[in-house]
Amino acid sequence: MNKTWNNKAWFMVLPVLALVAFNAVIPLMTVVNYSVQETFGNNLFFFEGVKWYREVLASERFHASLLRQFLFTGLILLIEVPLGVAVALAMPRSGPWVSVCLVLMALPLLIPWNVVGAMWNIFALPDIGLLGHTINALGIDYNFTRQPLAAWFTVVLMDVWHWTSLVVLLAYAGLRSIPDAYYQAARIDGASRWSVFRFIQLPKMNRVLTIAILLRFMDSFMIYTEPFVLTGGGPGNATTFLSIDLVKAALGEFNLGIAAAMSIIYFLMTLLVCWVFYTLMTREEAQ
């Protein structure tokens, strides 16, 4: 059969292409340009080749913030995905409570990131904050401004509070899309609650969970505002994640070359993970 190829539709994409060029490609090109030069301000640039890349890749500071970033993202995914699925499973499937649950779940997602950071900062303060004061009243020494472990606990708890709802809503949407016939067949077969989850609900949620994991990975891997407002990267460098370190290098120390090289490495890591998830998703779709 002879196919007719009509590529005129591609012209419809031109406005988007122009938009992407201005808000993504041109800034990215500029970052690449900065990453190979020394900057002295006032548009004075001196070519340095790959010096900044070598420096960043050998830097213990970069390794430490990257490790913290991976640890944070790993913890977030380990907590938020199972918790989100568990909450979605516990939510009613019909009736008036569905709307109440959905609104309650959506609320944290509507709060701006800087407000979340400020809110948790006050909430977790050991002397006046409800959380901090309660934990100390229980006899546990807790002060997120002094103790690295307490700072990590607070940052992770804040993110879990803010973003688990997203996983819940996606998982709930996945659960609602399962036809009743599957549950009826499971009842006839005398399947246990676990078997229903393992062989019906989990496979059917596969796609939305992949999207949820991708979104949570991206967000947590690039997190900046919330921990910056909450802990400022401290105490010491305990919660200095990659994005905070990057801003410190670029704006705090005005090391634009190093910051640009870090940005490119950061971008490549995110790009790789996105590609892996995209490949997994399209492969499942094809199967």
């Binding site: 041109i26 030069q37 790959v50 890349y53 890749l57 490549l268």
Partner: protein
């Protein structure tokens, strides 16, 4: 138009020129042989020519970073390795 804020150098211009050239080449290839040349490759992935170019470019970026991280040798070594990698991707993936 003043582009000094973008801090262009001939090296970075050549780099982006190469990427743009590759994309143009892919367009010509698609025009000569439409359909994207989809196949089920060695990694168990269904890829088109565009996918293979993307894998080659992303892989090349990581090869160069790895080269910078683990050796003090000139970066050309990484470039040669990347070309070999790209040929392997277009041949087998």
């Amino acid at each position: 138009m003043d582009l000094t804020w973008m801090a262009w150098t001939w090296q970075t211009a050549a780099f982006f020129g190469l990427i743009a050239g590759l994309l143009c080449m892919m367009m010509v290839w698609e025009w000569i042989s439409p359909g994207g040349g989809p196949r089920h490759g060695g990694l168990g992935l269904d890829t088109t020519r565009g996918d293979r170019l993307f894998i080659s470019l992303l892989g090349s970026a990581y090869i160069h970073l790895g080269w910078l991280a683990f050796t003090d040798a000139p970066l050309w070594g990484g470039t040669v390795l990347s070309i070999v990698f790209a040929i392997a991707v277009f041949r087998w993936v």
